[in-house]
Amino acid sequence: MSKKTKTVPEHFINRELSWLEFNDRVLGEGVATDVALLERMKFLAIVGSNLDETFMIRVAGLMQQRASDVRRRDPSGMTPDEQLQAFSRRAHRMVEEQSTAIRELLRQLREHGLIVLEANEWTAEQSQFLAGHFTSEIAPVLTPLAIEDLEPKPLLPGLQLHVAAVLGPREGNDGETIVVVPVPGAFSRFVRLHAGEDVALVRLEDVIASNVGLLFPSREVLATAVFRITRDADVAIADEDADDLLDVVAEAVRDRRRRAPVRLEISARPDERLRKWLVDWLRLAPEDVYEIDGMLDATALWHLANWPGFDILKEPDWPAQPPRDLMDQDDLFEAIRERDVLLVHPYESFDPVIRLLEQAAADPHVLSIKQTLYRTSGESPIIRALEHAGGSGKEVTVLVELKARFDEARNVQWAKRLEDAGCHVIYGIAGLKTHAKALLIVRRETYGFRRYVHLATGNYNDRTARLYSDIGLMTCDRELATDVANFFNVLTGHSDVVGWSKLAVAPTGLRRRFIDLIRREAKSSTPDDPGLIMAKMNSIEDREVCEALYEASQAGVKVLLNVRGICCLRPGVKGVSENIEVTSIVDRFLEHSRIFYFHNAGHDEVYLSSADWMRRNLSKRLELLFPVSSPKPRRRLIDMLKLYFADNVKARRLLPDGTYQRVTRRGRAVRAQEWLHEEAVDAAKASQQTHLQFRPLSRPSD
């Protein structure tokens, strides 16, 4: 192995900028001409919600650092202020592109009869109708605020749209006044006009802005604008997603910055007095203000994307298929006893996971069920199955992760329901977020206990399982089962950490394990038989793992990384990372699986994990890494990884300068997600055919 090169800031890409590049790839799908119009609408909406979240958490965290006068540089060598500047520059460009894309998309939709009218396009008749609608439906729930006169100033909620208006002076005396009207969230964002066969819509904020004068009959409306404030997420959850930023921030600063504004979005070309007043009041720097030419809060585009009808503008449905490993298997226990079952979601159905739980709940031989739950839905059939099991006297232990972002209230509700049903509910582990996805069923069988295990890269959430690409493994493997049983004993406080035979567990040993695997690859790599690492995950940010990969690259190991989101590793740097290639796939399903392959001198090893190569996953969470050792599923995963690296339709390559470029297409088009879908369909069809029986009928007897 070549001598270790000391890493320097140039070897790393800034995390926030890398995230913006990911969002740019999402935006890229929003403008891709080969994608159906309403599907593109979804991507543009996601760009919006991604940015919202980033501002609330990451930008807010950096602002806290700046306010705390932290000058610590990130691995790429940037101070908080430098990061904020760079972020803002990139984000401004992105928001502009997003707005342009939305305008263009709305224009194209008109041709298909889905019309969103701008206020200046309203006919007199329409204006009149909307004024009536405003007076009868909207105005009664509005709360206009004479914001300049109020002391203390009201705290306008983050992410909500507001209409601001400058009112002319009252007869005779005082000057102009600014009023703010919050746009009620209870209404649909779009108001439908009756316009024949077409669907004609106007935006709620436009209706309010156009009619705000009706609220102040004696004043003249001089100008209006729509604006939206984004605030520092004032909840403890920010801890987890920005802990790397916040651990150096003084408590006092954190208190002061709580819910502080971090961004102002305002409709383009606002009245100067209005703009100045808002910026001063919110104490924002000019670069924190985003003027938007078009529609604010793009997340509302989801309404349009899902508008009933217009099927021609939507991507064809890719329904989940029955899993290949479970064709015609009614008894899941029997199926798992026969062989390890690999589930490739969302191409293959998530139902078997639910069925396994339901079967376990109903089976008198099942003694205990243990499961981790993170971000599941309250109406989830998983919860119902667990309730059922708890009620039947089995030992049911559920670790509920309440820190799952933005979901707390919902989580508490169903967790209580489980408790009422007799389940033993653990509300997380102090200081660590339980991100591992594990299910253990202990069943009494003829010759003793048998343990059925399900481990996965994605959450036990039947809804996201339709949208996220994830992998699950069902197995009876004894060593794995023992490890999982021990894992639950640790979670439930019955035991300290014991040694693992097959699992690696964060935060105690997962980083070390990954690094050991990478180093082993470097060690065993020879010119005749060079090492190969293929890995697919959501993000790479952990510095130690990056450094190990650089060392491996220098030792001649080929490193292929498919990283959907953040990638702080800089590929293709001479003498450092020349052998590392990074690609990223953004397509209709959210890439979410974490698959790791090591050539291991010909003894291929494949692992799945709940963890990304991020500091927070490896240091602050309970995560699992597990091997897939039975030959068929392992082979299948290797093929899948190869497929991801063969993608030349949706894949983009990370360049040494930190930007991404579409992979150049040679030969036939390969789109990994489409391929996987078709494969699943073919497997299902093939199975139907093999099981189709021709039963010759004999002559009817008289």
Binding site: Y447, A481, N486, S495, D496
Partner: protein, 523 residues
Amino acid sequence: MEEASAAKTGSPERPSDRTIAAIDIGANSIRMVIAQVEPDGEVQILERFQRAVHLGQEVYRQGRLGSQSMRAVVAILRDYAQRLRVLNVKRVRAVATSTGREASNADTLWDRVYMATGLQVEVIDTTEESRLIVSAVCKELGGVLEGGHGGALVADVGGGSTLLTVLREGRIVASQSLRLGSIRLHEIFTTGNESPRRCAELYRQQIAKETVTPAREMSLGAIDLFVAVGGDARFAAAQAGQSDETAGVSVVGRKPFEELVASCEKKTAEDLSTRYGISFAEAETLNPALQTYQILWRKTRAEKMIVSNVSMRDGLLLELARDVTGREDAVLQQSIVQSALSLAQKYQVDVAHAEMVADLSVRLFDEMQADHGLSGRHRILLRVAAILHEVGSFVSNRAHHKHTYYLIVNSEVFGLSRDERRIVAQVARYHRRSPPKPIHVEYMALPRATRVVVNKLAALLRVADGLSRGHIERAADLRMERSGDELVVYLRGDDLFLERRAVAAKGNLFEEIYGMRVRLEQI
């Protein structure tokens, strides 16, 4: 479907019959393993538990357990007992080792544990501890242990003691325990002010002192296979070893090990803990343990250190599994017999005679199986008693059976626990003269069930001894037959005068216990 197949084979077993658990109350932690015995007799681990509680610190310093530790132990075992109830585990062995042996107030603790959990904690002595470890190591390493010509040393450096066992050709030939342990060394020599270097020096001196005699007695110089057992050895393997895929163990070379020790002993516990990601408690005792392995290893000729993954708990599980399957471990039995024969030789017993009595005793044991209903384990105890029944003659021929008693009680027989040794001593003691009587204090000190065992076995030994008084040269020369209330023994030979007389003198106990007379017939 499974129910149906179970019904067909006629063995609808309940899983709980095949579920076993071993609990080990050690110097640093309390661990539990729940396992199940597969139909093929293999032990499948189901769950492992470990909870830190630092009993060794208190016991090695103050000789007793503090009330807080006791509460912690009770709480942990109560939780474990709860886990056992969930899986309905009935066959459980809970054992305590050096801390249990040395804490003056341990009995109070065991009583509290029993009251709170129903678990009966056995305090096992070092011989039994080594036996358990070695049986697990033998199972794990199999043929590897037979490889060395000069013999294999199995070394387990624990918190309070170090257990050494020497095997040749797969058989145990010597075993010793040293009052040398990682926690003990740490507690005695570390006040917190010494530099790591100074500590290392102190440890080294003490280890060197404690290992001189055993090295000589066990001829460690000839050893060419060094097997290390214990968590600290596994640490060394993880840091400096390579895994041997075929044997499923790790192997550490001398040089990387020496380098590892040299680097570790320069570091403070804090450094070790952060550098290697181990707990502080583990870090504190790492150096004394590594140095003990190092010094022992240096005394041998072994090139490599084989690091075993097993522990005493695995030995316990093997033993519990034998209870389930009814199979005894042949290697272990041989080792026990070997150890008994060495002892017999040491006291200049006529080994040929002793072995014949042993064979005859066992023949009688098997013949009377239905009547005494004793286990395979008792069979081996009888054999050992027969081999050793005349060791007392070494002291004096007068009342030699009484000398036999105390010699056995105070000697180590590899593979036998203290309680088992006591049974053996009693059986051997009653091979002649008076049968057990209420005035015999040691006999009456035994629990009632044990007294019954002693009676049953001694009755057999006495008859066997009587039968061996005449002409027969091999146990195979006789045949037995049960006829009514008589056990007829057919012997070769013209004149059975001597035998008849001896059996008449010694058969009284047999008649009393089994309700049968022994009659000798010529073939």
